[in-house]
Amino acid sequence: MGESSCAALGSTSIMSTLLNLKMANNAVAADLPTDSEDRKTLVCLYLLGGIDSYNVLIPNDTARYADYAATRTNLALAQQSLLPLSQSVNGDGQEYAIHPAMGGLQKLFNGNGTPEGPRRLSFISNIGTLIEPMTRNQYKDRLKPRPRGLFSHSDQSEQWQTSLPQGETNLTGWAGRTADILHDQSNGGSKTSMSISLAGNNIFQVGRDTQQFVMTHRGALTFSELSGNNHPTALKNLALRSMMEQQYNHLMEKAFAELTNQSLDQQEFVQGEFDALEEGFAGVSFPDSGIARNLLATLKTIALRAKLGLRRQTIFVSRGGWDHHSSLIEPQQNLLAELTPALAAFQQGLENCGLADSVLTFSASDFARTLRSNGSGSDHAWGGNQFVMGGAVAGGQVLGQYPSLAPDSPNDVGRGGRILPTTSVDALVAELLLWFGLEGRANFEQVLPNLSNFYDIGDAEASDPSTLPIGFLKPDSF
């Protein structure tokens, strides 16, 4: 029933286009930096609906697989079908495998032992929304504050994007708050938005002074889109253009029309640059799927960041459809089979363009799903497994504390196997932002008000990953 409504988080509406005007307009007078060094992009891949991530990263030694199989029953994947992972020496020393449809990510995790095939991907296990660390008893006895609206889609999706599980009156996303701090400082006075969404409007990139620039896989949303036919959008666009091109006597009207026309011109400039990059520009072929088209557009947008005058950039991409109550095995297989080659092509494109070290991609989702089957699917749960991918990632590690999947394990808060997270979203975000260039305790407190409950940012030493919140970055990555 709610499966369909889960897909309604973002929309590329006229509102997005209007919001874009503010961003694009400002770019007209932007004083673009010329320094080509030190550019970084954070890419958030949001999996809407709550991915069953205990069928993504699976324990593969005999005893722990037996626990997995006993708890998951008809949702368990056959051990012989799993793709084994080979952890680096820095991993947790346990045996893992990933879903059989994820061959492309297995290669990025394992590498091939050569400089041409480095390890680019690590997993973070049992991560989820928390206000402060807590044990199962503290959860059950309500001795520590719980995140609001646990186990519900919109609340948990919002909290992954805001890192404010206690809520706030004027809600902003952690990427938006970061942009409030970094945009002027890092983007050299450029007023082009550093927050680009390929999934409609989101809370992730909304800051006090920041809105996202919404694009589609075809590029910027422009008022000239679909011109030349009788499509209602084309007619609307023509009407708006026509209104702006009228001669106005009133000073305010005149200024508004001029400003808007400049914005439209700038959007068309962005679109022109975007279109000039042909699909094969990165020397890699993308599969034919919606998420692949969006990741290709992401790659183009990153390749254009210098022309847009951006040293720092966040990009939001999403894929819905993970809310598998009625049936898990086959639909998740299909989604992973679609997602994996798109991600692999994206990473290969970054490598080919020499951008791998300056782009960090991470996955996020509302929550993981119950370990126990509800018949043929699984329900909403809490802590789960996510990945980080990029040249700055010390690949080949399973980080965090992978929980016991045995029935009624110490982290199971009940109702079908819902696992209490042992790593907070704050920890992930803090490490991402260390790499991204956020500095200073006050700035971290502004972006992540709960961070000090988990980690003292003063402990971070770039040369020693063991001092970092999670430890997925290579030494001296920031």
Partner: protein
């Protein structure tokens, strides 16, 4: 059905005034009871609970399965209207919702009768075929409801949904 809704509105109004007359209950900092097991319920004769009126006739001969589901949804919405502090309350599963409706809420007040056609012997909310209702927490404000329908097998074509997805 209209008479039933009118009756429910009257009952709701009375209940709101009763709740507003009561002195505030002590609460934890997140507005939820400290521990479900430690709840202390009033020893006075119980006030009429909301379900007495709003679920009257539930799963009876005068209602259809769709009307049952609507009745249950209206009842839950009304409780949510009364209990506004629900930030960290847990009602994401059938069993947790029943605890919530029986008094594990910031008002420490029961809204659901201890027995009746809406509950099975395991204390779960059920449809007219005695199958547990399936909850889908979309947000704190919206719980979608599913009845497994006459075949008693969830996620099949004869399922009934609230809000209706058709």
């Amino acid at each position: 059905m209209k008479a039933r809704i009118f009756g429910a509105c009257v009952a709701l109004t009375i209940l709101v005034s009763l709740i507003n007359r009561r002195s505030p209950e002590p609460e934890t900092k997140d507005g939820a009871p400290q521990n479900e097991a430690n709840l202390v319920f009033s020893k006075e004769p119980p006030d009429p609970v909301l379900s007495d009126t709003m679920l009257a006739g539930y799963a009876g001969k005068d209602t259809s399965a769709a009307e049952d589901l609507e009745m249950m949804a209206r009842f839950i919405d009304s409780v949510f209207l009364l209990v506004k502090k629900r930030d960290t309350a847990d009602y994401s599963t059938n069993e947790d919702l029943v605890l919530f409706l029986h008094g594990s809420n910031s008002h420490r007040r029961p809204f659901l009768a201890q027995d009746g056609p809406a509950l099975n012997s395991k204390g779960q909310l059920v449809d007219r075929w005695n199958s547990p209702l399936i909850l889908h927490p979309v947000s704190q404000k919206l719980l979608e409801l599913r009845s497994a329908g006459g075949d008693k097998i969830p996620y099949t074509k004869d399922d009934l949904l609230w809000p209706d997805q058709s």
